[in-house]
Homo-oligomer: 346 residues x 2
């Protein structure tokens, strides 16, 4: 991965030198970041706002495969995955802490690449890096990020507020990240068998990017604020649409009906799923890693959203006893099940 | 490690089932914890207080060795290491998030043990567990904790406030955690050569406990508040006294003089270091992991602290040009160097 690049031994810098080196270009952008990297703890000030905190752990071999994930993309995605949780609360993300464990086989340039990706995400989404921890790892690459944000108390969207009759909405399109991963896995196998063959990713840019470089939907949070819509519940689609719908219904003590023909699936996702012998609907329901926002709105808000091409209304909330159902294109009723990603499956 | 115990496969529970199972006994104790585990992000409310955030990553084979670290102690220590950073800001620690990556070889009972230790620490130090992430790991055990706390703006102690003439103080005693580790390492080697030999830890309880079960010094923060002393700078002793003194002096743009005969070293630490052929002073200066608090106070505060047996005054702050020096018992001047723990040394 770094054969032709310059290699600097991380041990030369030591832990404090490494942190300083990696974080020196990060600028503090928020008034709430009173003190960032360089003391025992960061100091933040959010007067009259509630603070939002979320954390994610990414492990090599479980959450990513360095055979096809470029390190810059990995850094970028690690941040996005975290910010997405803050947006899913209808909040403003403002700070992150980043802890990294790195194999001693990694040269400094590799860690720099990860931090370049982190920096890109921080700059694009207006985030301050305020702390972290850097260590050697005997066990492959480990990235742990905690994101911090804020919101007014009355603006925060929990998962438990969906009411009967509310409309179920989802941003963007679904299944792309999963189908993109299948393509990357296929090309990896081909490469392992014959390293001379170049990967065939033609026409797959969109879904490869959905997998490698997802974007947290801050724009959707902004749009909802502009339209003066406060969702009654919200969650981000990390494990798969079906799993997330069940979280909202379980926590709100409700049921739902969604319609297969309303699920937003990009043509590239659809065609590639078919090529690979996969059902595009199953990819959309259970694929995960799309980092779109799933939310419920009152029917009274329908007029404000109905013409937005980026938001799909895929169904509605029902009473609990009706269960969680999907009506297929051929009008068959299916029970929704969470078959999303389980990190503990062997 | 779990040969004679019940074994439950974690995959049976899945990620959400596991988180629910592990966190169900944790009670929310703080009014500032508006929403804990169970949504995309935790929601906190600290009106008119500044928020403190710190994070640490603990990796198997780097930060701990499961050959001699009981999992309950590991969970307990992982929390303490984090709280210590909040106390080092003169803050009140209130919440933590815990992310864990676990080998699929681990049964549920092993993870439960880690969480028992986390729970003990939370209960003892009045901390709310408010979120986290749980994943399988192909790479050994990974624990990442982020701690959150608060303080009034005017009470926060940074590392950069030490002034010429200020007194350098340290709580408790030093070097014990390091010497305890040497004993554990010695007994591990003996065990590997001959598993029939029982470990010989007689009389070493104190230093073994210093290594396996350190305590964040919240009591020192409380004491300083009672005595109405605000340290001019403060840091916790995680990497070693010399390294921490140099952080304070560098960030405060000052020098210092400390006295070897003032360094607080417990008799068990002293005798055991000698047994092992180690210099007790070097252990105190460079051992690390003591999690005591190192701080500077104005000379005017001397009278308030001088009779406290738990606080040692080990030297004073000088101008920058005098450098950072230790006067030995035989009146020789040594330059202080950070030889603390470097996770990147090979």
């Amino acid at each position: 991965m770094f054969e032709n690049k310059e290699r600097t031994d991380i041990a030369e810098l030591g832990e404090f030198g490494l942190i300083k080196h990696l974080t020196q270009n990060f600028k503090i952008q928020h008034e709430s970041s009173i003190k960032g990297v360089g003391d025992d703890a960061a100091v933040l000030d959010f007067s009259e706002q509630q603070v939002l905190v979320s954390t994610d752990l990414l492990l090599e071999g479980i959450h990513f495969d360095l055979a096809y994930v470029p390190l810059i993309h990995l850094g970028y995605k690690a941040v996005q995955v975290n910010l997405s949780d803050i947006y899913a609360m209808n909040g403003v993300a403002t700070q992150i802490t980043v802890s990294i464990g790195i194999s001693s086989k990694f040269p400094l340039e590799a860690v720099e690449d990860i931090y370049k990706g982190i920096e890109l995400a921080c700059n694009k989404f207006n985030i301050d890096l305020i702390g972290g921890d850097t260590s050697s790892s005997k066990q492959g690459l480990v990235i742990s990020i905690t994101s911090i944000g804020h919101a007014k108390k009355e603006d925060i969207c929990y998962r438990n507020g969906a009411q009967e009759g509310d409309l179920l909405c989802v941003s963007g399109d679904l299944g792309g990240a999963y189908v993109g991963l299948q393509i990357l896995e296929r090309e990896k196998l081909i490469f392992l068998e014959n390293p001379q063959i170049q990967p065939d990713l033609e026409g797959k840019d969109y879904i490869i990017e959905r997998q490698l470089k997802p974007e947290g939907r801050r724009d959707v949070v902004d749009l909802l604020a502009q339209l003066k819509i406060k969702p009654t519940s919200m969650i981000d689609v990390s494990d798969g649409l079906a799993s997330e719908i069940l979280h909202i219904c379980t926590q709100s003590d409700k049921g739902c009906t969604i319609y297969e023909d309303k699920l937003p699936i990009d043509p590239v996702t659809y065609e590639t799923a078919r090529e690979l012998g996969l059902d595009p609907t199953v990819c959309a329901l259970n694929g995960g890693e799309d980092y779109e926002l799933l939310f419920t709105i009152k029917q009274a808000d329908y007029e404000k959203l109905k013409n937005d091409v980026d938001i799909s209304i895929i169904g509605h909330i029902t009473d609990k006893n009706s269960g969680c159902r999907m009506i297929s294109k051929s009008d068959v009723v299916h029970e929704l099940k969470a078959q999303g990603w389980n990190a503990f499956k062997k």
